[in-house]
C-alpha cells in the first residue's frame, strides 16, 4: 500500500509576491499551444492571464502599455513561428514593431526583463510552460512593477500633495 498520497497537482509553493503576468497571444499558434499544455496536464504558474488575438500583427504596442498601467508586473507577447502565420506575414510585421517598441521602452526606463516575446506553435505545449514559468519566476524575483502604478497615483506638479490637510483629504477618498 502506498504510504504517500498522490496529488493531482503538485503542492503549491507559497510566495510572498505573486506577479501578474499578461500574455497577448495569437489564436492560431500560441493559444493552441497553451491549450495543449492544459490538456496534457502540464503544470505552469497560474500568474499568467491569457488574452487571445487573431494574430500578433493585431497586438498594438499600446496594449502592452495599458497592461503595465493597469497593474501588470510582466507582459508576454507570443505567436506563430516565422513562416507559420495564418495571415502570411502578420508575425513578420509584429517582429519589427516589437523590436522597435522594446527599444523605446528601454529608453524610457522600463526594465526589458519584464517584457518577453516568444514564438510558440500549436504543438509546443512544453515550450509554453517553459516560457511562462521562466518569465513568472524572473518577474517574481524582480518584485512588483511600481513605475506605472506610481504614475497613476502621482498628481501634476502644481497639484502635488504637499500639505498634510490635502493629503488627508485625498486619502479619505
Amino acid at each position: 500500500m502506498a504510504k504517500e498520497k498522490v496529488y493531482m497537482h503538485a503542492e503549491k509553493q507559497k510566495h510572498s509576491f505573486e506577479p501578474k503576468i499578461i500574455a497577448f497571444v495569437c489564436t492560431w499558434c500560441t493559444y493552441a499551444g497553451a491549450d495543449l499544455a492544459g490538456t496534457s496536464r502540464m503544470q505552469y504558474p497560474a500568474n499568467v492571464r491569457v488574452l487571445k488575438f487573431p494574430c500578433t500583427g493585431r497586438i498594438d504596442p499600446v496594449f502592452i502599455l495599458k497592461a503595465f498601467q493597469q497593474g501588470a508586473d510582466g507582459v508576454l507577447v507570443s505567436g506563430c513561428h516565422p513562416g507559420d502565420c495564418h495571415y502570411i506575414a502578420g508575425n513578420y510585421h509584429a517582429r519589427r514593431r516589437f523590436a522597435a517598441f522594446r527599444k523605446l521602452l528601454e529608453f524610457i526606463g522600463v526594465d526589458l526583463d519584464r517584457l518577453q516575446f516568444s514564438w510558440v506553435s500549436a504543438a509546443e505545449g512544453g515550450k509554453w510552460v517553459e516560457v511562462v514559468t521562466e518569465l513568472t519566476e524572473r518577474v517574481r524575483a524582480m518584485g512588483p512593477m511600481n513605475e506605472f502604478k506610481e504614475l497613476a497615483l502621482d498628481e501634476q506638479w502644481s497639484g502635488k500633495l504637499d500639505s498634510p490637510e490635502l493629503k488627508e483629504a485625498y486619502n479619505a477618498i
Binding site: Y92, I108, G109, W119
Partner: protein, 306 residues
C-alpha cells in the same frame, strides 16, 4: 566659443523665392504658395498662404523661418485651398517630411511646386527671433543637419550655404541617457513628462500626425487617459514616439513648439538611430513606398524572441 553663422545668403534667397512665387502665381501654375512672412516682433516670421501674385513680395526667408510648412498640406489641415497645384517653401529638413508624406500617399508630387531653400540653419526656440544666428543660438536639429541643400525640388535658389561642423547635441544626450540605469532613465522622463499639459502642440505641428481622429482623442476604448496627469502624459509620449518611429523626418517641430520644453526630439532621434541600426532605414529625399515598420524581411533579427 560662440561663432557667428553666415546667413548672408538669406537676402538673395528671399528675392529668389519672391520672384519664383510671383512667376508661378501669375502664370497660374499654382493656386497658392505656402511660405514665410515677417511678423510684428522684431526679426520674427510666421507661416503665410498667399494666393495673389501681388503678395509675393511678402515672402521672406530668414533664420527665424523655423516652421515646417509641410504640415499645412496634410489632411489634418483642411483650411488651405486645394484646387490645383500648391507651391510650398521648404528647407531640407521640411522636404524630408514632404517626401515621407508622398511615400505614405498623402501627397502627390505632381500637385506640388516645391521651392527648396539653401539653408545655413535657423534659430533655436529658446532665443528671441531678433537674435543673430551663431553656434550658440542655432537650433539643435541644425547641428546635425545633412540636408542644407534640398534635392529634387522644382526650384532652388542658386546660393550655397556656408556650413560648419557643430557638436551633435542629440547624439551626445542620447548616449548619456543610454548609459544610465533603467531607473535613472525612468526618473528623467518622469520629470519631463510631468510637465506636459496636453496642449498637443507636438501633435498639431507634426506633418506625420495627420490622422482624422487621433488614438488619444478616442474614448471608446480609451487607450490613453486624456487628463494632463503623469500617467496619461507618459502614455501619450510613448504612443507618439512609437507612431512616428520609422516615419519621423527629423524636423524637430515637436520639440521646438513644446511650451514646457520637453526634449521630445530625443525620443524621435533615438528611434531613428535604432531603425537605422536594425533595418538600415533613414529619412531622406527619395520617395520610398514602405517605411521600416510597414515592411519586413524574413531574415530580420529575432534575437530578442524566445
Amino acid at each position: 566659443m560662440t561663432q557667428a553663422i553666415d546667413t548672408s545668403i538669406y537676402s538673395a534667397v528671399t528675392s529668389a523665392i519672391q520672384a519664383e512665387a510671383q512667376r508661378i502665381l501669375s502664370e497660374g501654375q499654382v493656386s497658392a504658395v505656402v511660405g514665410y512672412a515677417p511678423a510684428r516682433r522684431k526679426g520674427s516670421a510666421q507661416p503665410v498662404v498667399i494666393t495673389e501674385a501681388s503678395d509675393a513680395g511678402k515672402l521672406i526667408f530668414s533664420a527665424s523661418c523655423v516652421n515646417n510648412l509641410a504640415v499645412y498640406l496634410t489632411k489634418a489641415k483642411k483650411e488651405i485651398p486645394k484646387n490645383g497645384k500648391i507651391g510650398i517653401v521648404v528647407k531640407g529638413c521640411d522636404l524630408k517630411a514632404l517626401v515621407g508624406l508622398m511615400g505614405e500617399t498623402q501627397l502627390k508630387r505632381e500637385e506640388l511646386h516645391i521651392i527648396g531653400v539653401p539653408c545655413a540653419g535657423v534659430l533655436a526656440s529658446t532665443f528671441q527671433p531678433d537674435k543673430a544666428l551663431t553656434t550658440e543660438t542655432i537650433a539643435p536639429k541644425c547641428r546635425e543637419c545633412d540636408a542644407q541643400l534640398p534635392q529634387g525640388c522644382d526650384f532652388v535658389p542658386p546660393q550655397q550655404p556656408v556650413t560648419q561642423a557643430l557638436e551633435k547635441k542629440y547624439a551626445a544626450e542620447i548616449a548619456r541617457l543610454e548609459a544610465l540605469t533603467p531607473a535613472e532613465r525612468w526618473a528623467f522622463w518622469k520629470e519631463q513628462f510631468s510637465k506636459c499639459i496636453k496642449c498637443y502642440a507636438c501633435r498639431q505641428v507634426c506633418p506625420f500626425c495627420y490622422c482624422e481622429q487621433c488614438l488619444c482623442d478616442r474614448n471608446k476604448p480609451q487607450m490613453v487617459e486624456t487628463s494632463p496627469r503623469p500617467a496619461g502624459n507618459t502614455a501619450w509620449h510613448i504612443v507618439r514616439a512609437m507612431h512616428l518611429a520609422g516615419r519621423c523626418a527629423g524636423c524637430a517641430e515637436c520639440e521646438r513648439v513644446c511650451p514646457m520644453d520637453i526634449p521630445l526630439n530625443l525620443l524621435n532621434r533615438k528611434m531613428a538611430k535604432e531603425l537605422k541600426e536594425l533595418y538600415d532605414y533613414e529619412a531622406g529625399f527619395e520617395i520610398k513606398e514602405k517605411g521600416p515598420l510597414s515592411s519586413y524581411d524574413e531574415k530580420d533579427d529575432q534575437s530578442f524572441i524566445k
